[in-house]
Symmetry: C2
DNA sequence: TTGAAAGCGCTACCAG
DNA sequence: CTGGTAGCGCTTTCAA
């Protein structure tokens, strides 16, 4: 197995100087190269299977073709992958590649992780999080292009952009999914109390109520922690409280918990009680019985946006942008028109 | 925001040559340096916040401190993250960092993705997959250390190691979870027919049967596709067939589907029917009602092993190793002793 | 139209 | 003990 051929090898093979090889391979139009020479170079390169050493290119150019992703919980979250996939899509299109480090829990480890990225001279940093939370930004001491996807800096500048899901709108859509089908005895099984996502989605609920002329106070509310288990407990509590016909859940996992509880209580879903989820979680929402009517978290798009931002020329936008990505409603089977009161 | 200081800057500040700075900072013991000089260098480095440029180091050394991860479905799979986390853990410990590319579906895109990693001079390649499947290895033309985690090469050499979960043993454990609690009317709701994981887990089931003196043929069997939905359908079919007291499912998602079906059929879980899952899926198995008794897929450990392999000195093992990582049984609430026959 | 030469930031050899 | 010097593989003046 031979070592990788270098530009010098190609030059030697083509009988030209290394400089010329560089010109040809970089397709520089400002430097005229004789067609015959160009052909020879291309041929030699192809023959040897030459591929430029990106590390060397980057070093010389003083710029880099690597994006650094600082991930907050790449593990366990099925979403994290989708966001990284979006980033990669943009990266690949621009000839970039991604380095990923997971944010360790301790502050020191996290700073070190970010620095390890900087030490490799990444072109930019993306703080990526599947949950909408504040993150501590590492003081780098050097200017590096930064964008936040799914999170925002609790300290320091917000970089070039903060990309967040439009959870208010998503919450509104989730509520409307039930409201529009005639449901008025509604319980809101929120996620973790006072977390940004929870607050936003609940605000959307209030908006939706106002839109259909229902008093927001008439919605029963309780909070869990986005786990299946908390959905289960909250649903039991709710149904003991009143004969709700629709449960609006903090996320799909809580919706799943709610379904489990409803089954135990012998309520048919969606026949007797409709359930709306949130997240459109991969391998869950669509596969459920009944399949969840839910709101999709646009992680892929968020990642795409973040990646595009950092791979596009430094450009003009000096004022950090705050981008709210739409969360579309996905209508499936878990919400049906309210049945006539028995 | 100043540019990153280089070694020359440190040297100037300390009033020594750049060479000396290199010696000191690399802590080379073979080259004696006067304590006073060393102190001055260290001081200057600290003052300037100097950090070596890894890209330059790697270029010079001709070796690299980056691991390339070729991920098969980093998206959607909650596991992928755990495996990458394991790889990262090993990587960090050795001063490495990871570049991740997701394997595109088309062959061409995939080869290009792998090459883009090689172009950056990664120290090694890890083909990582959350599902036990064969992958097409890219012909690189150059020798690069490779290990497979959760997959194996369907073409070419198996690299240094192929790391797989011990699904036979896992399947055995899953079956024993039911068998040991007296269950004998058992249905096996397998995953995708003839997929490696399915085959192995079923083999484990046969082993377990033999151990407790039950005829393997006495276990009812059917296959789905590892989705919630298929678990649901298979469970309905099974229960229409016979009065099973335990359902051994292909994975936790199928187990979830089975629970849903059982609820609909008004069978109490686990009171009337026990359910055993597989995967110990994050945010699912533990949060379920009842929490799943399941078998843990050791993705983190597999990643760790893969990472350690590639960050350890080239070493001796020339013969590719086949490593089977144990899948421990996690006992929770979804399996209980069989109730006295009514 | 082509090539010699100077580095990017770093390591490592060898002379002093 | 310390520092000059030669590169790693590449881009980019500047001359020929």
């Amino acid at each position: 197995m031979p070592a990788r051929p270098t530009m010098v090898d190609v030059a030697r093979h083509a009988g030209v100087s290394q400089t010329t090889v560089s010109f040809v391979l970089n397709g520089r139009t400002d430097v005229p190269v004789a067609p015959e020479t160009r052909r020879r170079v291309l041929e030699a390169a192809a023959l040897l299977g030459y591929r430029p050493n990106r590390a060397a290119q980057d070093l010389k150019r003083g710029s880099s073709s690597v994006l650094g992703i600082v991930s907050n919980g790449i593990a366990s979250h099925p979403f994290a992958g989708r966001m990284i996939l979006g980033i990669q899509k943009a990266a690949r299109a621009a000839g970039y590649v991604c380095m990923v480090v997971d944010m360790p829990d301790d502050e020191e480890g996290r700073d070190e992780a970010v620095r390890s990225l900087l030490d490799r001279g990444v072109a930019g940093l993306i703080y990526a999080s599947p949950a909408t939370v504040p993150v501590r930004q590492t003081e780098t001491g050097v200017r590096v292009r930064t964008v936040f996807s799914g999170c925002w800096p609790e300290n320091g500048e917000p970089g070039e952009a903060v990309i967040l899901p439009n959870d208010v709108e998503g919450g509104r859509l989730a509520a409307r999914a039930a409201l529009d089908r005639g449901h008025r005895r509604i319980a809101f099984l929120g996620g973790t109390y006072q977390e940004q996502a929870t607050v936003d989605r609940e605000r959307g609920l209030d908006l939706a109520c106002a839109e259909v002329g229902m008093a927001p106070e008439d919605v029963w509310r309780a909070y869990g922690d986005y786990s299946i288990d908390s959905g289960y407990r909250l649903a039991r509590t709710a149904m003991a409280e009143d004969e709700f016909t629709a449960l609006i859940c903090g996320n799909d996992r809580m919706a799943l918990g709610a379904v489990l509880a409803l089954h135990e209580l012998h309520y048919d879903v969606p026949g007797r009680v409709s359930v709306v989820g949130y997240d459109d979680q991969e391998e869950l929402a669509e596969e459920m019985r009944p399949a969840f009517t839910t709101v999709a978290l646009p992680h892929y798009e968020m990642g795409l946006l973040a990646g595009e931002r950092l791979t596009s020329p430094p450009g003009s936008p000096t004022v950090p942008e705050r981008i709210l990505v739409p969360c579309p409603l996905v209508v499936r089977a878990s919400v049906v028109p309210v049945s006539a009161p028995s």
